[in-house]
Amino acid sequence: MNAFGKYLIIANYYFYEMDIEILAFGIAKDIVNGSSFTMQLPAESTVGSLKAQLCATYPDFERLASFAIAVNEAYRQDDYTISDKDEVVIIPPVSGG
């Protein structure tokens, strides 16, 4: 593989987008106005980039005390990579108990 071929592959990743179904609970439901919605994300997006895009689209997320992202029923750090079959959930500050 030469440098040109490598560039093409990178370009290919960059332009490929995936539709991610996102679930919302608690106040996140009010912010996105629904309990689920679809977001287009670049392939290989991370939890960190999803959070940035959520804040850009819905500025009210920045006003929360905190918010986390769960992927496949577990909390994930910002560097976690999202795939298009994943179950992605917005977790605003919890208040059980």
Partner: protein
């Protein structure tokens, strides 16, 4: 014996106590969280609890596993209510039975402290003139 439940019907302290009871128990410690009638002086009419159910259950199970590992608390029941609750109703029960009671106190307190930090359940307080998702804003 780990018993984790999310229920939309009233919770029972007797049931939780009996679930964890075992012949060698030195004691059972039960934490019971009930719905308060006011927040910062403002009258609460009712509460609504909503959960991301599969993950709420798996996070509660994680808490129980840590309690088992750290305090040998292998008899633990965590029951959480969802749906609409009236004032005074029970929102959560955590029951822990251990051979030595000190471990039960520590494991039970760990469990409720952690539940309030990690389990994806949300509480909405309904007032006479509005409603608010508890803890959402700083």
């Amino acid at each position: 014996m780990i018993d984790i439940q999310l229920k939309d019907v009233p919770l029972s302290t007797e049931e939780c106590n009996q679930l964890v009871a075992f012949a060698g128990a030195g004691g059972t410690v039960v934490f019971v969280g009930t719905v308060r009638d006011q927040t910062k002086g403002k009258k609460v009419v009712r509460l609504e609890f909503e959960a991301y159910k599969p993950m709420a259950i798996s996070e509660m199970r994680k808490i129980a596993e840590v309690a088992k590992e750290k305090w040998s608390a292998d008899k633990i029941a965590i029951h959480h209510r969802v749906g609409v609750l009236d004032i005074g109703e029970i929102a959560v029960i955590i029951a822990v039975a251990t051979p030595h009671r000190k471990a039960a106190f520590e494991a039970c307190e760990y469990a409720i402290d952690t539940l309030k930090e990690t389990v994806p359940i949300w509480k909405k307080e309904i007032f006479e003139d509005g409603e608010v998702w508890v803890a959402a804003h700083p």
